[in-house]
């Protein structure tokens, strides 16, 4: 089906279903229960999960397959955002041209940066990409101010031409839309003591993310994907096998740059402004963290990583001391304060501390990320269930080799 084997098709179907029902799945707790703050079913968060999922999936095409660790991918995200906002200003508020331009522009930038950076490998490549991204960031703040609007960031204005949209008579800024359907419009359904928000923007992002994910699956299973994995393992052998590794790595770099640009365009489509801080190297670090946390080189890993991080970021940031006190009020006074103090270090403002620690733990003990973790748990469970069958081999790999007979 769709050029996928049965297992991948099932996998894709699950992803599609999960995406479609995200507004319900992420709203598991009743509105007035104490666990309400764990609900993630609001449009902003759901959009971010989908968008950063795309970003991470694209990053994984480069890092997971070829092993080239780019520390400058945020540049493409930022450039994509700028391109999209310019499209909103000049042409139309329809998001389709905007995200297309975002992909084209970031793709072109990726050709330039990749062409130069890929002449080196290892840490030199990381530093080169980092240097390029920092250059983009600094330039956006200085010389390119006419294009980027400097520190204020690029925003919509009433006076923008918007050639295709015709004149805007109202006094308020127009909203992004897809053929007239506004991105920020939502349909709220109240049921089961919960409010489910079905947001146009989220579904748009979700559909784009599914497409992006589908293309990534195809790429992983293709000869091209195999070549990229070969690049990671042994470039010398590839050269002596008649293969030119440079175009392979460049193609991977450009594709992943375009994924990042797409994500940047979508960010702008959800909220039409673009700032240089999207290109800061810590933003590049974030996508690295997402990919590693989920599991680099696996299909599901980056999406999982992006989802977990964005969800926890939103949820953890909201847990302040008063929330903690309400949780632990049943403890004896002194103990309550101690417990709340400890938890408060890791929540709210301390979210980044949790993130850093988790990341360190994952890199140290679970280099395969969450995907590897679930696999280990599965094989452990299997071993526990059949103690007499002896040691069961852990599953060969997450990406079943295409030669195994389809299930």
């Amino acid at each position: 089906m769709l050029g996928l084997n049965k297992k991948d098709a099932t996998f894709l179907l699950i992803v599609v279903l999960l995406t479609l029902f995200t507004p319900i799945i992420m709203q598991p707790f009743a509105a007035n229960s104490g666990l309400d703050q764990f609900n993630g079913g609001y449009p902003d968060l759901m959009q971010k999960v989908a968008i950063f999922g795309i970003f991470a999936v694209g990053f994984n095409i480069l890092f997971g397959l070829t092993g080239y660790l780019s520390f400058g991918h945020a540049a493409f995200l930022g450039v994509g955002s700028y391109a999209a906002v310019w499209m909103f200003k000049l042409l139309t508020m329809n998001v389709i041209p905007a995200i297309l331009l975002a992909m084209v522009v970031s793709g072109l930038l990726a050709v330039v940066i990749g062409f130069i950076s890929l002449r080196r490998s290892g840490i030199y490549f990381s530093i080169l990409t980092l240097a390029f991204a920092q250059m983009c960031y600094k330039l956006a703040y200085s010389v390119l101010t006419p294009i980027t609007n400097g520190e204020t960031g690029l925003q919509l204005a009433l006076s923008d031409p918007r050639i295709l949209d015709g004149t805007n008579e109202s006094a308020s800024l127009p909203v992004t839309n897809i053929f007239g359907l506004a991105m920020n419009s939502s349909y709220k359904v109240e049921a089961l003591n919960r409010v489910f928000t079905f947001n146009v923007g989220f579904y748009f992002c979700g559909i784009v993310a599914i497409l992006a994910f589908y293309i990534a699956i195809r790429l992983f299973r293709s000869p091209f994907g195999m070549m990229l994995r070969a690049v990671k393992t042994n470039q010398q052998r590839m050269n002596y096998m008649g293969l030119n590794t440079r175009p392979y790595t460049l193609a991977a770099f450009v594709i992943s740059g375009m994924y990042a640009g797409l994500a940047g365009g979508l960010l702008a489509a959800m909220d039409p402004l673009a700032g240089a801080d999207r290109m800061l190297w810590t933003a590049s670090g974030e996508v690295v963290i997402m990919t590693i946390l989920g599991g680099a080189g696996t299909l599901m890993g980056p999406v999982l990583g992006a989802g977990v991080i964005k969800y926890l970021e939103n949820i953890f940031s909201k847990i302040n001391e008063s929330v903690l006190h309400s949780w632990f009020h049943w403890l004896p006074d002194g103990l309550e304060h101690a417990v709340v103090w400890v938890f408060a270090r890791f929540t709210g403002e301390g979210w980044h501390l949790t993130l850093g620690l988790t990341f360190m733990l994952v890199v140290t003990f679970l280099p395969g990320g969450l995907v590897e973790g679930t696999r280990r748990i599965k094989s452990l469970m299997a071993r526990l269930r059949r103690p007499k069958a002896g040691r069961t081999e852990p599953k060969a790999d997450d990406q079943p080799s295409p030669f195994k007979k389809p299930l």
Partner: protein, 253 residues
Amino acid sequence: MGILEVKNINKRFGGLQALGDVNLSVKENSVHAIIGPNGAGKSTLLNCLVGKLMPDTGSVTFDGQSLLGRKPHEINQLGISRVFQTPEIFGDLTVMENVLIPCFAKRDGAFRLNALTSIAQEPDVRAKAEQMLIDVNMIDKRHMQGSSLSRGDKRRLEMAMCLAQDPRLLLLDEPTAGMARADTNNTIDLLKEIHEKRDITMAIIEHDMHVVFSLADRITVLAQGTPLVEDTPDNIKGHPKVKEAYLGETQQV
């Protein structure tokens, strides 16, 4: 006129003359061994052939085309495959994938962006790869990871990868270095079989005389960067110059 012609190549590393006026002619369908004591310049010569090093002077032609200045992958695409001293394979990939890569390289050239076709939809290439694995007797291990193979199996796999390209010339850099006697003999048999079945020209750089004399039909002896003699194995065996070159070395050791 041989398929591979090396004329008057010189290579210097600083003050060291690594190769001096080396001439070599490898005849089509022959097995040509290049032997010589340590430091004779065997590896330098090989590196000049595959595009890793650029000789200072001289010419290297393969089937009438000059190889100088070409990149390793271009030289390979002309039909020259190389086997390394320690087997170079793709450790993270399965055995089958290892063989698929040269098959695709043969069909698609140095680069092709076929990112949306599944490997499963390429039955021709897969059939060829499977045939290669059957030929080297490794079809049972096709799902194993490259890095988990034994050294002997890695060597076999590398051979299969090279053969999958249907090369016209196979360069072997000490294919039995560091191998146990039994493995060495297996490798000799494998190479013999390949040569007989496929009529591939082979150029072998080797230390081990046992290997050389069981395989080669022409031998060039290299010493201190220059060819001493070139002759058939029988004539080489008793040749005084060769004795001198080797005994000189053995005495020092």
